[in-house]
Symmetry: C2
Subunit: 332 residues, 2 copies
Amino acid sequence: MKKLINGVETLLTESLDGFCAAHADIVALGPDHKFVRRNRLKPGKVALISGGGSGHEPLHAGFVGHGMLDAACPGQVFTAPTPDQMLAAAEAVDQGAGILYIVKNYEGDVMNFEMASEMGAEMGQGDVMTVLTNDDVAVETSDFSTGRRGVAGTLVVEKTVGAAAETGADLAACKALGDRVNARTRSMGVALTSCTVPAAGRPTFDIGADEMEMGVGIHGEAGRRRVALMPASQIADEMVGAILEDFGSVAGDCLLLVNGFGATPSMELYLMYREARTRLEAKGLTVARSLVGNYVTSLDMAGCSITVTLLDQEIAGHWDAPVHTAALRWGL
Amino acid sequence: MKKLINGVETLLTESLDGFCAAHADIVALGPDHKFVRRNRLKPGKVALISGGGSGHEPLHAGFVGHGMLDAACPGQVFTAPTPDQMLAAAEAVDQGAGILYIVKNYEGDVMNFEMASEMGAEMGQGDVMTVLTNDDVAVETSDFSTGRRGVAGTLVVEKTVGAAAETGADLAACKALGDRVNARTRSMGVALTSCTVPAAGRPTFDIGADEMEMGVGIHGEAGRRRVALMPASQIADEMVGAILEDFGSVAGDCLLLVNGFGATPSMELYLMYREARTRLEAKGLTVARSLVGNYVTSLDMAGCSITVTLLDQEIAGHWDAPVHTAALRWGL
């Protein structure tokens, strides 16, 4: 295993220390590395909190800041954060308007965020609602999820709900918007190589030199099928095809996110963007917003995912709204 | 070779098509894919043009836009662009205040940019000056360069000179600032794995499962020495040590850029940032500005570089100035 680390036990805390030092103008670290929080809270604003296993950076801590999350709770690599992390984060960023948890649909995450909600209620914390993201069309259930997995579409939910909360939307409105954006979002991934979890010390899955995992999950979980390497055009056919089939009929404007899993060069991501865009436009969609880069990663996995969100005026407006986080920044 | 491409011949143009489509609000593609240019030129502004072999994205096209470059000329992967690319770019973005080429110190790049300068003069193009970047302290000469190599510090030169040009600095002032920033900038890299150039189809260099290349170049060129894997703390000792030794005495504020080569997860880059920052501060420097991410990459190489720029008020001000490019954006 080749990694720039001192040891698997200290990787997460040392990385978080570095992250919060590099972005001290935006974020601060909670006690015991339990959460990363926004420096300047906005009184009366719904508190948006997300979290999940580490290894998907910049998700979620990279999306903490003005116009997006108020706090993120990082678990160990590919391991759900514990409820005490969410409770501590909620206590730190609650501004009296309630708390919205944004949770990717994995059993550990769902369970621990639910537990945090219940414990928070008992402790007298503010109202809590949850948006569950499950945008991955690859598989209907998986090793770690009942129902579809939440993947890169989570970014779109966090950005748009973050914008709504920033401009005064109440808890119920934030929850409704998050559910609506999630319902209008579909993703599909492909892996060329496996990631290597530091604590495991070896690749999560074996894959041949001429194989790809079509529909892979962001932890290296199995997708739809193991296939032979294909040209980008055919890969895009299958990924965009799966997304469009799942949508049924589509029309109008969409957001296209081509997300790198961590080890795929920018040149390839932009090439995949071109392939995906061409196919979406051939089906009558207009790609009106775009994002290309490493946003919801799987450590050092090579490959990418394609995410499509069907826009309307409200969602596009929230996407365009100012954001100032470590990983997404515009308008400020 | 596992890559998301259709073929090695079309990789560059297809990727550029995708890049310019995704960022059509900022950039446009020149004829025959010769250059990427800023959409909205500023009358009377010095034209900043850079370029080099592809495979280092987002350098340079990702830095085209308000407050940074006016155009970038992408060569084939790890191959210098040809003079006709620079001539075409200069013709497209020249605003009557002269042209500044920002060139990384590699023989092919230096030769072709020089040739473009001479041909441009013959054709009656405006005044041309060149800033040569050579921030890599690892080796004094290399396979592809006479003198030190230009690496991630090039970003700092492009950002600061871009800010100066945007606010009206004349050609001589831009040239002087670029030289000054380059002279105050040092970098050093380390590779854990080799990159694979698509046209070659196999790794550029062989490296053992327990080895690193200390001082590696951004094309996978040899560095100072092949060493056994070390903890991040020892890697940082050697890299920061080499930078500080080269500076001689240091004090005051600095910018710290921890740059991923393409396949290294964000967690590891932030951990390396922590290690580097600790060491710089122990030597009396204040890390006043920070940047962490994949900015000057080597395709799919795992590893990172550390860049330190000694700041003064002028350089810090230009760093902080608004920028709106595909890969760097703040204040706008």
